[in-house]
Amino acid sequence: MTLEAFAEIHPPLGGQAAVVEANRCLFCFDAPCMAACPTHIDVPKFIKKIASGNLRGSSLAILDSNILGLSCSRVCPVDVLCEGACVMHKYNKQPIEIGRLQRHAMDHFYSNGARLPVSAAPERSQRIACIGGGPASLSCAAELRRQGFQVTVFDARPQAGGLNTYGVAEYKLRPVDSQLEVEMIRSMGVKMEHGVDVGTSMPLDQIEAEFDAIFLGLGLGPTEPLAIPGEDSPAVVDALHFIAAYKTGIDTDVGRRVVVVGGGNTAIDAANAATLLGAEEVHLLYRRGESEMPAFAFEYKHAKQMGIQFHWLTQPVAIHATSVECVRMELGAPDKTGRRRPQPVAGSNFHIQCDMVIPSIGQTKLLRFLEQARGVELRNGAVVADQATGQTSNPKYFAGGDCVNGGREVVDAVAEGKRAALGIATWLT
C-alpha cells in the first residue's frame, strides 16, 4: 500500500486556467471573501495580481496576511469561508475558486525559492517562546520574527507543523508541503526545538526564566476515550494516531471492516483514509442524527461518495473481538448547548461486525500541562485569552489556536497566532 491512492481532492489549476478564473473575479471593494477569512487575506488583491501576471506579488500579498498561505489554500473549508461569502453566489452562481487560485500563487512562491522580502525591522533583544509547533505557534513566531523579535518554537514532535504535518488528511495536504512552510519560517530566523516536551523534558519554569513572553499554541491532546469495555484492544486505534501513522508512513495497515466513531470532520477524514488504504467496508457511527452532525456538508458529501456507510443515532457500548456492540439512540430535550441530547433506547442493542475501531469523538484538553502555567485562567479546559491580543490572565502568557478555541480550523489558529504576536509586540514595547 502506498500513499498514491491519496490523489489530491482539489488538483492545482494550470497557469492559463488560473488567469481565466482570476479574470472572472469582480474585484469587490472591502470584499466579503476577505471579511470571511479569519486572517483577512486581501483576496481580490492577490487574484488581480494573478490576472496581471504578477505571481510573486500575489503570493506575497497572501503571506502578508497569512504566513501559512500554502496549507490554508489546501485545507481551508473554503465553502463556508471565502468562497461561501463570494458575491458570485448571487450573480452567476459559481463562486470564484479562491482556494485553488491561492494555491496557484503559493505553488509559484515555493517553486521559486520561497524568498520572502528582507524585513526592514531592526533586531530586538526580547525573546519569546512559542510552545507547540502547530499553525498557531508558527504564525505567531513568523509575525514576531518579522518585527525583529528573537523567537524559539518548542515542539514535542520530531517535526514541526502540528496537525498540518500529522493530522490533516493526505488528499488535502501532504507532510512535505507542511514542511515547506516550516522551513520558510525557519529561514526567517525562527529557532525550532524539536522533540522538546515542555512541562516534562523541559520545565516550564526554565522557559519562564529565559523568555520575556510565552505563547501557548500547544493545541489539544489525544482523542477522547470512548470509555466502554474492550477499548484497550489492539484493534482500537484513535483517529489522530491512525492519520499520523499513515501520513508518516509508519503504519498503513487497516482492517477489512472498519468502524469509525464520531460525526466531526476528523471522523470523516479517518473514514475516508480507511477506505483509501483498502478497507472493504467502513461504517461511521454518530449518536445524533444526520442534521446534527458537526462535520461540514462538503465533507459529508465527499464521504458518501467514498462509500462510507453512515449509522445515525447509534452509540457503541462495547468492543468485542469481531464486532462493536451498539445501541440505538433517540433525541430528548435540548442540552445547554441547545442541541437535543441523545438518549439510549433500552433493549435496542445490536452488533456491527468489524476488525478495527477508530474513535474520533474530539480531542482531550492538555490539562496536566496547562495547570503548570501559573495564573493562566482556564475555562472548560480551554485557555481564556483576549480575542484581540491573545493575552491570558497571566500577562506574560499569550495563547491561540485549538488550546483556546477548543479545536477549529488551521486558518483560525493562524489568525489567533498572528493577533497574539501583535499583542505580544505591543506588550513588550
Partner: protein, 412 residues
C-alpha cells in the same frame, strides 16, 4: 466564396497593387482581461500574390457568383497612368466597384501611397479624378482616421467625383512591447514599426468618424461602415448612423465566416421587433440624435437609484463613486471614506462559522445608498455595476424648462 456561401452579399478584394512587398511577422493584438484580440494591429501591406493571379481569381469568383458584389481595393503609386491601368485591369476582370485605399497608415504612406494620399485633401481629390477618368464602375474612397478632421478629405474626394466612402481605415498604433525582449510587437527580426489598429477596440472611434461624414452636408455620399464590427449589434449601429453597407474583417479573421449567420439572424430578428422591413428603413435614424454639446439640455436631471433586491454587495459602485466620481454613494448609512471602511474590515475578528452555511445573504451594511442631492447623474456607478438593472438612472422632475448652453448665452 466561403463568405458568400455563409450569406454575405459582397466582398472587398484587398488590396491589389504594385509593388508587392511584405514582412513576417505582420500582426499583433491587444488582449483584455483574458479575452483575446480586443484590438488587432497589422503591418501588412497589400496582397502577397501577383496582380495577374488576383485578377484571374476575381474573374473566376464573378463567374461562379454573378449576383454577389466584388469590389477591388486598389493602391498604386501616385501616377495617373498607374491608376488608369489598374482600374482598367480590375474592371476587365469583372469587379463591380473600386475602393481606393487612401487609408493604409504604414509602409505605403512612406512612399506616397495609402494614408499619405488620404491625409492631403488635394492629393485625394486629384487621384479620385484620375480614377474617375477611367472608371466605369462606382468608386469608393476609403478614408483614414489618422487626420484631424476626416471631413476635409471626404469633401475633397467628393469634389473629385467619388461615388461613396468607406470608413474607417486602421488607426496608427503600437499595440504593446514584449517585456522580455523589450521589442514592440509585431517583432520583425528585433525591430518593429507602427501599424494599423482595428478590431472591437476601434468601434467607438469609427462610429464617431462615420457620424462626422454622414452628418456633413458637403460630404453627403453613400458610406460603407468599417471599424470593429463583430456582430449584428455593431452593424445596426453603423447603419443607424448613416451607413448603407458595412464591412467586416477582424471578426472573420478571429472566428471565421461562422460569424455571418448570427449577423444576419440577429439583425433580422431585431428588425422584425422594431418593424423595419429593409435596411433602408433605419439607415441614419440615429443621426438626428447626435448634436453638438451646446444644444444639450442643461436642465435635464437624472440620478442613480440602487435596487437593493438585486444588489450583490460587491460595492464597486461605492468605490468608483468615491475614487472616480462625486462621492455621493455611501455604505451603512454613514459617510465613511474607503480607507475607513477598509480599516474597519481589517479590524474585524472573524472565525470559521459552525452550523451556518452559505450562500450568505448580502449584509445590509454592504448595500450602498445614493445621496441623490449630491448625485450629478454621471452614470459611472451604473456602468461599473456587474448586475443588469441593479442601478438605474432615474429622471428627476425639477420643473425647469429645457435650456441649452447656447440658450443660456442668449438669455444672459
Amino acid at each position: 466564396m466561403r463568405a458568400f456561401d455563409a450569406g454575405w452579399g459582397g466582398a472587398v478584394w484587398k488590396t491589389l497593387g504594385d509593388p508587392i512587398v511584405n514582412v513576417s511577422s505582420r500582426y499583433s493584438s491587444v488582449d483584455w482581461n483574458g479575452q483575446r484580440m480586443m484590438g488587432l494591429n497589422n503591418i501588412e501591406l497589400i496582397t502577397d500574390r501577383p496582380l495577374a493571379v488576383n485578377l484571374r481569381e476575381i474573374a473566376e469568383v464573378k463567374k461562379r457568383y454573378p449576383g454577389h458584389a466584388v469590389i477591388a481595393s486598389l493602391m498604386v503609386e501616385s501616377k495617373r497612368e498607374a491608376w488608369h491601368t489598374i482600374v482598367r485591369q480590375s474592371e476587365d476582370a469583372g469587379a463591380d466597384g473600386l475602393e481606393l485605399n487612401f487609408g493604409c497608415p504604414h509602409g505605403m504612406s512612406e512612399r506616397g501611397m495609402g494614408s499619405a494620399v488620404g491625409q492631403v485633401p488635394e492629393y485625394a481629390q486629384m487621384i479620385t479624378e484620375w480614377v474617375k477618368e477611367a472608371a466605369r464602375t462606382p468608386v469608393l474612397v476609403k478614408l483614414t482616421p489618422n487626420i484631424s478632421d476626416i471631413r476635409t478629405v471626404a469633401r475633397a474626394a467628393k469634389r473629385g467625383g467619388a461615388d461613396g466612402f468607406s470608413a474607417i481605415n486602421t488607426i496608427n498604433s503600437i499595440t504593446g512591447i514584449d517585456l522580455d525582449t523589450l521589442t514592440p510587437r509585431p517583432d520583425v527580426g528585433g525591430l518593429s514599426a507602427h501599424g494599423g489598429y482595428c478590431g472591437p477596440a476601434v468601434k467607438p472611434i469609427a462610429l464617431h468618424l462615420v457620424q462626422q461624414i454622414c452628418g456633413d452636408a458637403e460630404s453627403k455620399l453613400p458610406v460603407s461602415g468599417i471599424g470593429g464590427i463583430s456582430g449584428w449589434r455593431d452593424a445596426a449601429e453603423f447603419i443607424l448612423l448613416g451607413c448603407g453597407t458595412v464591412q467586416v474583417c477582424t471578426a472573420a479573421m478571429h472566428y471565421g465566416f461562422r460569424i455571418v449567420e448570427d449577423m444576419i439572424d440577429g439583425l433580422s430578428n431585431w428588425m422584425d421587433e422594431k418593424g423595419f422591413r429593409t435596411i433602408d428603413d433605419f439607415v441614419g435614424l440615429s443621426l438626428p440624435k447626435v448634436t453638438e454639446w451646446k444644444h444639450l439640455d442643461l436642465n435635464y436631471k437624472i440620478v442613480a437609484r440602487i435596487h437593493e433586491e438585486k444588489c450583490i454587495g460587491c460595492d464597486l459602485c461605492y468605490v468608483a463613486c468615491w475614487d472616480g466620481a462625486h462621492q455621493c454613494i455611501h455604505l451603512n448609512g454613514a459617510h465613511h471614506t474607503p480607507a475607513q471602511v477598509e480599516s474597519a474590515g481589517r479590524a474585524r475578528i472573524t472565525s470559521t462559522p459552525t452550523g451556518k452555511y452559505p450562500p450568505y445573504s448580502t449584509p445590509v451594511a454592504r448595500i450602498p445608498k445614493v445621496d441623490e442631492a449630491e448625485c450629478v447623474g454621471c452614470n459611472l456607478c451604473a456602468l461599473v455595476c456587474p448586475v443588469t438593472g441593479c442601478i438605474t438612472m432615474e429622471r428627476i422632475e425639477n420643473g425647469l424648462p429645457k435650456e441649452s448652453w447656447e440658450d443660456r448665452g442668449r438669455n444672459v
